[in-house]
């Protein structure tokens, strides 16, 4: 297993390394864009907060003050992050595992870092890693039953994303579970719902070409399958910036700091990236509605493992034939003839 892990890590580094070489060029916005300070030629480096902050609110307000209240963009000046995007490198697993990387985040290997998580969360994480080491994989993922990835897992899920920036809002759309984040620009947090949600409530401001976001009121979830749980008190500060690699590829680099007073012993930072994916547009790909609840047959069985309902099972859902009204013409999900 150690050999396999090393191979995976080596080739991931080779692939990802070629994609994340950075240089300072501007594109897609009228504002000059800078290289990420501290970046290596392989991957963007984590940018830690300029000083320690006790809370996300303190961090966000400091950045807002440093930006003199933020840049007031118009539709003519706002950074444009158009097209389809795919998730790329992220450093999050290194927070929780010694030499952690995405190559082992969901697979056996890696030692749990001590003192990062609070005792209850570290105990659960150790049990989760033991399950992976024993079975080769976490036996059940909450997304199996079409649960939303939510934040912070949204930052990585490897499907198709779009980003729409406007002066008063930014929309971050993931095809996975049709999960859209809305960032309210120059606004205050509002919660008339009296509850939390998968993506929480996000506010933000622009600092030239950087979008700074503070998200709170997020459902308890997880960083990723194989990674620790997050608590219902997690708050997240993100800084988004589009950069251009030396190959001329558009990248969105997101510097993230997690503030979770219940799950973490202290705030932790990571960097995530997204890569523009014109290849998907060439294929004719468009974001379609995610059909998990009407087409997925995966579920958690009595032993706590993931399994599928198969044809012949009374609860099997024909993914293209299901209808509640089989006797009425035109009710099939199958107008293409299958």
């Amino acid at each position: 297993m150690k050999i396999k892990t090393t191979l995976i890590q080596g080739f991931l580094c080779a692939i990802l390394g070629s994609s994340f070489q950075l240089q300072a060029l501007a594109q897609g916005t009228a504002i000059e864009q800078a290289a990420i300070p501290g970046a290596t030629r392989e991957n963007p480096a984590v940018e830690y907060p300029p000083r320690d902050f006790a809370t996300a609110e303190e961090h966000y307000n400091y950045l807002l003050e440093q930006a003199s209240g933020g840049t007031q963009h118009t539709m003519a000046t706002i950074p444009v992050w158009d097209g389809l995007w795919s998730a790329g490198y992220n450093s999050m697993p290194a927070i929780f595992l010694e030499e952690g990387s995405m190559a082992i985040a969901m697979r056996p290997g890696g030692e749990v870092r001590e003192g990062v998580l609070t005792p209850a969360y570290e105990e659960h994480f150790r049990a989760r890693r033991a399950e992976i080491n024993e079975n080769g994989s976490q036996l059940y993922d909450r997304l199996t039953n079409c649960e939303y990835p939510g934040m912070p897992r949204w930052l990585w899920e490897p499907y198709v994303k779009e980003f729409v920036n406007m002066p008063d809002q930014s929309w971050m759309l993931n095809d996975f579970m049709n999960e859209t984040r809305r960032v309210y620009i120059n606004a205050e947090h509002v919660n008339i719902d009296g509850k939390h949600s998968a993506t929480g409530d996000s506010i933000g401001f622009w600092d030239n070409d950087k979008l700074i976001v503070w998200t709170k009121w997020i459902n308890p979830a997880d960083y990723l399958r194989g990674m620790p749980l997050t608590s219902n008190q997690i708050e997240i500060v993100e800084t988004w910036q589009q950069i251009i690699t030396v190959e001329g590829q558009r990248q969105l680099v997101t510097q993230v700091t997690f503030y979770d007073p219940i799950g973490l012993q202290s705030p932790q930072s990571a960097v995530y990236t997204h890569t523009a994916s014109p290849d998907l547009e060439e294929f004719g790909a468009r974001i379609r509605n995610w059909e998990c609840t009407s087409s997925s047959n995966s579920f958690q069985d009595e032993d706590g493992r993931t399994f599928f309902r198969l044809p012949g099972d009374p609860e099997f859902r024909d993914p293209r034939g299901f209808t509640d009204f089989p006797d009425i013409p035109g009710q099939s999900l199958n107008p293409m003839g299958q």
Partner: protein, 156 residues
């Protein structure tokens, strides 16, 4: 039971790379027996080009010779598209040979690795359970695609 021979280090490495890239779907993959590959030949009854996973359903004989519906899970749409597969790749009624990793439980389903269509072409709708390009090459080079349906090969 025949033993598969890994064709080369490159293929091994390629397999791990593909695993690393794509086996990140919305559920665990622990239910598949990734130590085996099995060929199932049958007739397409449904090609569901769906998220979070594509599924190919075919009518094929089981071990008792009874015709049943088999189901094979593939990649999410975006990953399938990157491997040249879309919603019209398979049509009901066409004959296919599916090379898959079976369920540990033994039920008639598995994780698709690749599919040989009637004209001999290879379609790769697989998720991260295998490196379909490399595995298809191994199967072709060894003539295993002519094996009877239900033949199983060990990967160790």
């Amino acid at each position: 039971m025949k033993k598969l021979i890994m064709a080369s280090t490159a293929i091994i490495i390629g397999s791990f790379l593909t695993l690393a890239q794509f086996a990140f779907g919305h559920h665990s993959f622990a239910m598949f027996d990734n130590s085996k590959e099995r060929i199932i030949e049958g007739t397409v009854v449904r090609w569901a080009f769906n998220n979070p996973h594509t599924w190919l359903y075919i009518e094929a004989a089981d071990e008792n010779g009874e015709m049943i519906t088999w189901g094979f899970e593939g990649a999410a749409q975006v990953h399938a598209m990157r491997q040249g597969v879309n919603g019209t790749t398979f049509q009901p009624g066409e004959r296919v040979k599916v090379i898959m990793q079976p369920l540990v439980s033994g039920e008639p389903a598995g994780a698709m690795c690749f599919v040989q269509k009637e004209d001999g072409s290879i379609a790769r709708p697989n998720d991260g359970v295998c490196d379909s390009e490399a595995r298809a090459s191994v199967w072709q080079q060894n003539g295993w695609l002519n094996s009877p349906s239900l033949t199983t090969y060990d990967l160790d």
